[in-house]
């Protein structure tokens, strides 16, 4: 299971990358995409929306499951990954890269430091049985 060390994580399996310009890029983890299976549709957040921490902002849907995506911290949604409208499978093939879901300008960037680090997140997800 791929858990990049430079990212922060939530218990609901989002990852967060704080960029140098203070913007946070958010997606779902490799574990999450694997649990959901091949994604068929993503309901993206609205650009400009102000969201609370842990509020539901998007829905990802696979052949069998629909799952909510949560805002890791409070802030304003400033960009969404429009590519996912046509290619939701990018979340499966590259969850930490081209499969990013939205960007958020945090009300308080220091809240991101309070999220799980890679070690804590990795401890939380089950060991894959090979």
């Amino acid at each position: 299971m791929n858990v990049p060390t430079e990212l922060r994580y939530t218990k609901t399996h989002e990852w967060v990358r704080l960029e140098k310009n203070g913007v946070a890029t958010i997606g779902i983890t490799d574990f999450a995409q694997e649990q959901l299976g091949d994604l068929t549709y993503i309901e993206l957040p609205g650009v400009g929306d102000n969201v609370e921490a842990q509020s539901e902002v998007a829905v990802v849907e696979s052949v069998k499951a629909a799952a909510d995506i949560y805002a890791p911290v409070a802030g304003a949604i400033i960009e969404v990954n429009k590519k996912l409208e046509e290619q939701p499978e990018l979340v499966n093939s590259d969850p930490f890269g081209d499969g990013w879901i939205f960007k958020l300008r945090p009300d308080d960037a220091s809240e991101i430091d309070m999220l799980l680090d890679a070690d804590s997140y990795e401890d939380m997800i089950p060991e894959a049985e090979e």
């Binding site: 218990k11 609901t12 399996h13 574990f31 999450a32 694997e34 649990q35 959901l36 299976g37 091949d38 549709y41 829905v59 849907e61 696979s62 052949v63 069998k64 499951a65 629909a66 799952a67 909510d68 949560y70 939380m124 997800i125 089950p126 060991e127 894959a128 049985e129």
Partner: protein, 234 residues
């Protein structure tokens, strides 16, 4: 890990089933109940998946109504399906994604429960690549569609025992044109078990496949206080 199962005999209107699941889900999130699997049978209903596409319904809403079939939107994944008497519906309210998660994947596990249950009654069922659910040589016998809210599951799986398959003629099941739907009764005729027998096997296999020790309660019989309060209004 300990978990609860609730067997509910009376036909449940779909909306009541959703309300019941939502209460169980909230209680599970608050850790006031363990993982709980609700087993029900629904009054006839056509349900649409999360995106609410209704192009899979073959007849106008008035005709559904005239035939005593409800139409409902469901927050689950997947496409249109039919529920009715003679079909075992299981709604596992499970916490996934923490230590106790099912490493092989919840979808795979639900399919496994259906395959093993079919086998108990001498029916060979199998997975089909890219198509969810459990299939037999005669068509699909179990359909799966679920929702994750804060990584606790809602909705689940329906397994056709002796449901009137004409209900599926009202729709394009799961949006798959040209695919058939089957049931144990269709495959086994007079040898077919009833829903209570199938429900017992589904619960058994669920416990084994998902690694839960299931304590079974019957709606109407004495229940743990937390559960009685949640089920009471439904």
């Amino acid at each position: 890990m300990k978990a609860w199962a609730v067997f509910r005999d009376a036909l449940l209107p779909y909306a009541t089933g959703v309300a019941l699941q939502e209460r169980l889900h909230a209680a599970r999130l608050a850790d006031s109940i363990p993982d709980t699997v609700l087993f029900v049978e629904h009054a006839p209903v056509v349900t649409l998946g999360q995106r609410g596409r209704d192009d899979g319904v073959r007849v106008p809403p008035q005709q559904l109504h005239a035939q005593g079939v409800e139409l409902a939107r469901a927050s689950r994944g997947g496409n249109v399906t039919f529920h009715g008497p003679g079909q075992c519906v299981m709604y596992p309210i499970l916490r996934l994604g923490a230590h106790e998660a099912d490493a092989h994947g919840y979808l795979f596990n639900l399919e496994e429960v259906a395959l093993r249950t079919a086998a108990d009654f001498g029916v060979t069922a199998f997975r089909r690549a890219g198509m969810n659910g459990a299939w037999t040589a005669d068509g699909k016998i179990a359909a799966i569609g679920f929702r994750l809210k804060r990584w606790v599951t809602l909705h689940g799986m329906s397994f056709n025992v002796n449901v009137d398959l004409a209900g599926f003629d009202l729709i394009v099941p799961c949006g798959l044109a040209g695919e058939r739907v089957s049931s144990l009764a269709r495959l086994l005729g007079a040898q077919s078990p009833d829903t209570a027998q199938v429900r017992a096997r589904l619960a058994h296999h669920f416990a084994e496949v998902c690694g839960r020790e299931l304590e079974v309660f019957r709606a109407g019989a004495p229940l743990p206080a937390e559960l009685a309060a949640l089920l009471g209004a439904g």
